[in-house]
């Protein structure tokens, strides 16, 4: 199939959805489904760029800070659990247990202890995204090539250098996969914690609009959240591919040789 027909076919469904929604909402006058142009106008009024500094940037800062803390804590913890056998056997099951708690379930207890300030949000995000990073790192330790490990030992590489150059490097695809899941968890927790208990933020405004039956603002907020969710993932995938280009390159050269 040519590229042109692929693009044409790919546009069919989105265009059909947008056109049918526009036609239907223009006539139906349903309070839940306002016309498209009204939603877009509200989107521009709210998010370009009136509330960006007060409600969007603080949320994103919490997201970035929380995820950063999770990565800083998760990689060493995962490395310890993955490399030191008795530690892994002792705390692996505990970690499995905590990882099985749905992340959103962590919000009510942490809100009770920490309240609804920004620091509480950062903690919630950090705790929820810690588990995927830690588990992926522990798992990634198993990816190290035994020959390289032996070589490192023969060359008397120090433990720290062996860790960084052999284990973490071999585990980096797994670790980045874990950070990607962590980012998804962090985004969910950012939005959910704002929906549940906050005084500002996109999640808060969108949920507040829903409660007060302001469907136009609700739609505009949903649109922004969807855009942010998509963009966050796309940016991460781009960074990951760049960081891992050595790994992909190695796999390709291996496959072709």
């Amino acid at each position: 199939m040519s590229l042109r027909s692929r693009v044409a076919l790919g546009l069919v469904v989105p265009v059909a959805i947008v056109v049918s929604y526009a036609l239907w909402s223009a006539n139906a006058a349903s309070p839940y489904f306002p016309p498209l142009d009204v939603i877009l106008t509200r989107f521009r009024e709210l998010w370009l760029f009136d509330l960006v500094a007060s409600d969007v940037l603080p949320s994103l800062k919490n997201l970035g800070l929380g995820l950063l803390l999770a990565v800083i804590a998760g990689i060493p913890c995962g490395a310890i659990l993955g490399r030191i056998r008795w530690m892994g056997e002792m705390f692996g099951p505990l970690l499995d247990f905590w990882r099985s708690v749905p992340p959103i379930m962590l919000i009510p207890p942490l809100v009770l202890i920490l309240g609804i300030e920004d620091s509480a949000k950062v903690t919630i995000i950090a705790v929820g995204s810690f588990f995927p990073v830690c588990v992926a790192t522990a798992d990634g330790m198993r990816q190290a090539d035994p020959t390289l490990v032996d070589a490192a030992r023969a060359m008397r590489l120090g433990p720290l250098k062996t860790m960084v150059d052999i284990y973490l490097r071999a585990g980096s695809p797994a670790i980045l996969g874990g950070i990607q899941i962590g980012l998804q968890a962090a985004f969910v927790l950012m939005v959910a914690s704002e929906m549940l208990a906050a005084y500002r933020g996109i999640g808060y405004l969108t949920m507040q609009a829903q409660v007060t039956f302001d469907s136009v603002t609700m739609w505009a907020g949903t649109l922004l959240l969807a855009l942010l969710g998509f963009t966050a993932n796309a940016v991460f995938v781009a960074i990951r591919n760049r960081v891992l280009s050595w790994h992909t390159g190695m796999r390709v050269s291996r496959a072709s040789s």
Partner: protein
């Protein structure tokens, strides 16, 4: 959505040994001991909203005897089952069609690429407005979060079929319907199983999430009420129950998937 979302870290090799069970138990004891010390004499004593480990454990046991917990767990699992059924049917139908036909793939792949990375929680206010705090809210959220894993795995499963087999079936003039039912679907079954396992974990999370954020019935609603009435021991007890539920749920699904793969020649 990688593998790491629901497989377990703890994978004892060569049978479970006493040493491993002992160490695992010791891990839990260390955690509870540390918690108890922190909240009674340690630096976090008398923190508002933070129960001690013993308070939490007694509330966890107390919950085991309450019919409210069991009926909430039942509701949650029932909603998960319905959402999973929808996600599996829709995901497999769309995924197989996309893997099988380049036209369907060109038609649906772009929109799936755009919608898949968007966390389902984003749609909650919209669904809450339309559906209200009803069981349907949990089902819809679960479906939106879970359908993608099945779809992607079904797509990959169909594309991974040995092309020689497909060409043989074409050479023997097997009708498309028969090719689908005797070759494509059976060989993609292990992929469906993986998709269902990953999807079910997402759905459980979102059904509970719909309860916490939107008041849909089930475990999530129970913890929301406990939080609003300010009962920390009960909130923490429910968190422990949700961990237990998630762990059991994932273990059963992982075991089921392994069994199916083994049965089908260990692919």
């Amino acid at each position: 959505m990688s593998e790491a979302t629901s497989t377990l870290l703890w994978r004892p090799t060569g049978g479970v040994k006493l040493r491993q069970v002992g160490l695992a138990a010791a891990g839990f004891v260390v955690w509870l001991g540390l918690w108890q010390w922190m909240t009674t004499t340690g630096p976090m004593a008398d923190t508002d909203g933070l129960p001690t480990a013993s308070q939490t454990l007694s509330s966890t046991l107390e919950l085991a005897g309450s019919s409210q917990l069991w009926s909430s767990l039942g509701t949650t699992l029932w909603l998960v089952a319905i959402a999973l059924a929808f996600a599996v049917v829709a995901g497999i139908a769309a995924g197989v069609a996309m893997g099988f036909s380049p036209v369907v793939s060109a038609l649906l792949d772009p929109i799936s690429q755009v919608l898949r990375p968007i966390p389902a929680v984003v749609w909650l206010p919209l669904l809450l407005m339309v559906l209200g705090p009803a069981p349907e809210l949990g089902i819809a959220m679960g479906f939106l979060g879970g359908v993608w894993a099945v779809l992607v795995q079904a797509q990959v499963g169909v594309r991974d079929i040995d092309p020689v087999i497909l060409e043989t079936s074409r050479a023997m003039c097997l009708p498309r319907r028969l090719t689908l039912s005797t070759i494509v679907l059976p060989s993609a079954v292990p992929y469906f199983a993986t998709g269902i396992r990953i999807s079910a974990a997402f759905i459980l999370m979102l059904v509970i999430g719909a309860g916490i954020l939107g008041g849909a019935p089930g475990l999530g609603q129970l913890i929301l009420v406990a939080q609003q009435t300010g009962d920390p021991a009960r909130v923490f007890g429910l968190v422990l129950w949700s961990g237990l539920l998630g762990l059991t749920f994932n273990s059963i699904l992982t075991a089921g998937e392994a069994l199916l793969r083994q049965h089908r020649g260990g692919r």
